[in-house]
Amino acid sequence: MPSVLRSRPRYLRNVLFGFMAMAVGVLAVLSAEVRHEMRLFQEEPVDNVHWNLTQLELDLVLLLSAAELALERDEPPLDELRKRFDLFYSRTDLVRQGAMFERLDLEMIIRPLIARLDGFLQRATPLIDGSDASLRAALPALVEDVQTLRMDLRSLSIRTVEQYATQADLRRAELARLLRQVAATSAALLILLVALLGSVLYLNRQAERKTAEVLRVSSRLQATVATALDGVIVAGLDGRVLDFNQAAERIFGFSRDEAIGQGLDRLIIPARHVAAHEAGMARMRDTGKKKVVDAGRIQITAKRKSGEEFPVEMSITSNSGPDGMIFIAFLRDISEPVANERALLAARDKALAAEQAKTNFLAVMSHEMRTPLNGVIAAIEIVGRKAVDPSQAKFVRLAQSSAKLLLRHVNDVLDISKVEAGHLALSDSPFELAPMLASLTDVLRPVAAQKATEIELDIGPDLPPVRGDSFRLGQIVQNLLSNAVKFTDGGKVVLKAVLHPQGGGMALLDLSVTDSGIGIAPEDLERVFEDFVMLDPSYGRTDAGTGLGLAISRRLAEAMGGQIGAESEIGKGSRFWLRLPMRTADPAAPAPAESARTTAKPGADGPFLDLLVVEDNATNRTVMEEMLRLLGHRSTLAVDGREGVTKARVHRYDAILMDISMPVMDGMTATGLIRAEGLSKDSRIIAVTAHTMPEELERFRGAGMDDCLTKPMTIRDLARTLAAISAPPSPPPPAASPQPADAVLDALRIEDLRQALGADGIRRTVAQFLRDTTATMDRLRSTASSPAEARALCHELAGAAAMVGAAHLHRHFAGLEAQLRNGDAKALAAAQADTDRLWADAAAALGALTKA
């Protein structure tokens, strides 16, 4: 409240008090005067003047009549006269002695009367006190004297009364004036008192109202503070507790009575923080600077009654109260949240670590499992070659397909764990979408054809070159395509790709694979992208379904910043789509690495090798070039099989690193051509492929390749493989020809057969083989138009050849099968001469065997 307002009633009151003091002073003076006047009437009363004067006159009259009676009768006694004289005499005393009149201030007035009376008494008293005779003689004179006195007395007393009346009037008037003044002053005082009373009443009512308000506010505040969930502690500048609410009691364990008056330092501040606290308080006292106060929420350590320290969240505000500055601290015990948070963090870290460990474990295990699995597959392959019994063959096939499935599982899991572990390295290099997608569809066409399904590639004619990870994109598309083929019988699969330019060098690849297959139920549509989901278990059991293909695709798409999804209608087909942001490659840039380049040997350890790298993917090419450079080798680059063949013919390379899937000419074809003629026909050819399946390995060998490197390769893998070439100065490689360098027949296998069947058994078996194979060969020649059937026949022939140990023939047919599977429909016709020759060789060798 502004001070002016507050001081107004006070000022008014002061004025009132001033007036009252004045009024009381005036009253005191007046009442003193009144008391003085009243004393004249009361405390010093006098006998009635009128009465006494009348009595004096009466006594004189009685004396006169007694004297006249005595004169008339002229005889004794004179006692009555003397008594009357005495009575008169005694009455005159009252006047003469003057006490009464003196007190009434009537001395001057009465003086003539006294003089007159004295004169009479001096004359008469000797006569009265004398003898009867002398008195009688003097009677006439006495009577005359008394008569004269009576007249004088009359006029004198009247005058006296008049004067007395005047004086009395004056005195009364004076008293009346005084009383009026007293009354006026009293009235004024009364008014002042009433005003003061009013002011006091007003102030009182205000004070009451204010008190009620203060009470209401303070009780509300008290209740608020008392019931607050946070601890509230109020302390003075000296650090002593002024208030301590229930929550604070609960938090700290001190009762309010225990806490109040105690220093905070001994109460709730841990011993090691006391010095800092006191320094802070001292600073605040001396400089008024606040550090913690009004600084918002802070976290500090506090101490309970038990001595236990715990974290609190606290905010302090200050306020200057009537007793100086006070501090109000709001405290919240956060030991539980802090502990919870800690536990939660620990649990999360543990879970993350466990997850990481699991992922790492999976990655390591998958990786480690692949090697032995390859061994298993290779072993089964070898065993399968020697299987004689159809039931054994069946089991071997079962083992083969199981092993392949297992390998795919392992590869899938490895992919997933790579993505999950964040180890997936995405390449970013320019590539052409059209040839890539074309090769993917080409690969699957034979499989689709087996199911009478057609694959259609619907891409615009002018897809610009883009940058990104073509391998991972291919993996997704391949997965979508193979799924579509898998679930479509006698229908159509359309791969459609559109590139929407987005500006800023970005484009959105909108790719979809639409089939007319069995479709997916709506409730399953989302689930298909989850791990290990197989909608058709029967299918999964018979074919290579891992249930991870789409899960991997989803992860890859997301890792590349894209989205994948599906729409479907049961019985009508499905549509899987992929939307991927891609950077467009500069179309003006030269086509990726068209010409061979040579890198200088950096002078590293190990033998220097002159290498040809045949690789269509620019990134992979660059990576390999870089790796080889690091290993100290020189590399020449070729972008496809055809270029590789051209280069290999005119230069003798120590080794050729050959990609398998390439546009224009694939790696296997190129290998065959290089082996056929040219300076590098004896060079080691190492397959470089993402396809790590052992069956493929066999195919590569069959095509004339010496070794295989799995993409993505590590520099160690590369070094190891190349070391095998250079370390032992290998003998000149076998003559480059489609013919195998080894024997026509597998001696070991023959020996096995001999032991199992005996000579006759072999003879019968060989005869059977020759018969069957002749027939099959005829069928193969006549059904060249159907690649699927041709492939199946090749497969059958390869198996039969392996069974009888016709190793060369087996490899030939296996190679053909692989080529057919890769969509090389012309391979059969191209290899016709070889087939015939090898068949003749094998038949001759077997025939010789049976004769022996």
Binding site: E43, P45, V46, D47, Q55, L58, D59, L62, K83, D86, L87, Y89, S90, D93, L94, Q97, G98, A99, M100, R103
Partner: protein, 172 residues
């Protein structure tokens, strides 16, 4: 408080009766000199046909009392000696409730017997050890100790201060 007052009143009545009996036992002597006071009315102890007549000697025979005081009618302080009215009434076995006092000049006043106490009034017949003449408001002046007792400095008391007293009538 009341009981104490009642008790003391009873004591006083008893004392009065006793003294009355004692007074009656010895006959009030008849006056030998000039009679200066005559008491009549409801009194039981008389010396002349239902009257109690006093000369100076008979008055002197009653219990004597004195005090010094100033008066509004005289100058200075004088010592007055005489008999307390209450003692006189007791001696006469007065049974009335009111007293009528009369002076030589026939001035008269009436007041209750109860107003006659041991403090006053005094029927003074000597001032400063000398008998008072009529000229000196004698021979008997009924006087109060105005100086000692403030309650006597009132108009009523002054009017009761009758001088040249010569007759008293005790009435029922």
């Amino acid at each position: 408080m009341n009981s104490i007052r009642r008790f003391s009143a009873a004591l006083m009545i008893a004392a009065g009766l006793l003294s009355a009996v004692a007074a009656r036992a010895e006959i009030l002597p008849a006056p030998q000199g000039d009679v200066i006071l005559t008491v009549s009315g409801a009194i039981t102890n008389t010396n002349d046909d239902g009257l109690a007549r006093f000369d100076m000697a008979v008055l002197d025979g009653l219990p004597r009392h004195s005090f010094a005081t100033s008066t509004i009618w005289t100058e200075g302080v004088d010592t007055y000696e005489g008999v307390l009215l209450t003692d006189l009434l007791k001696a006469l076995g007065a049974t009335g409730t009111n007293v009528l006092a009369k002076a030589l000049n026939d001035y008269e006043i009436t007041f209750p017997v109860a107003d006659a106490t041991v403090e006053g009034p005094l029927l003074a017949y000597r001032a400063n050890g000398k008998p008072m003449s009529i000229r000196e408001k004698g021979p008997i002046w009924m006087i109060f100790p105005y100086d000692d007792v403030e309650a006597f400095r009132t108009e009523q008391t002054y009017s009761r201060s009758i001088w040249q007293l010569d007759r008293i009538v005790v009435t029922e």
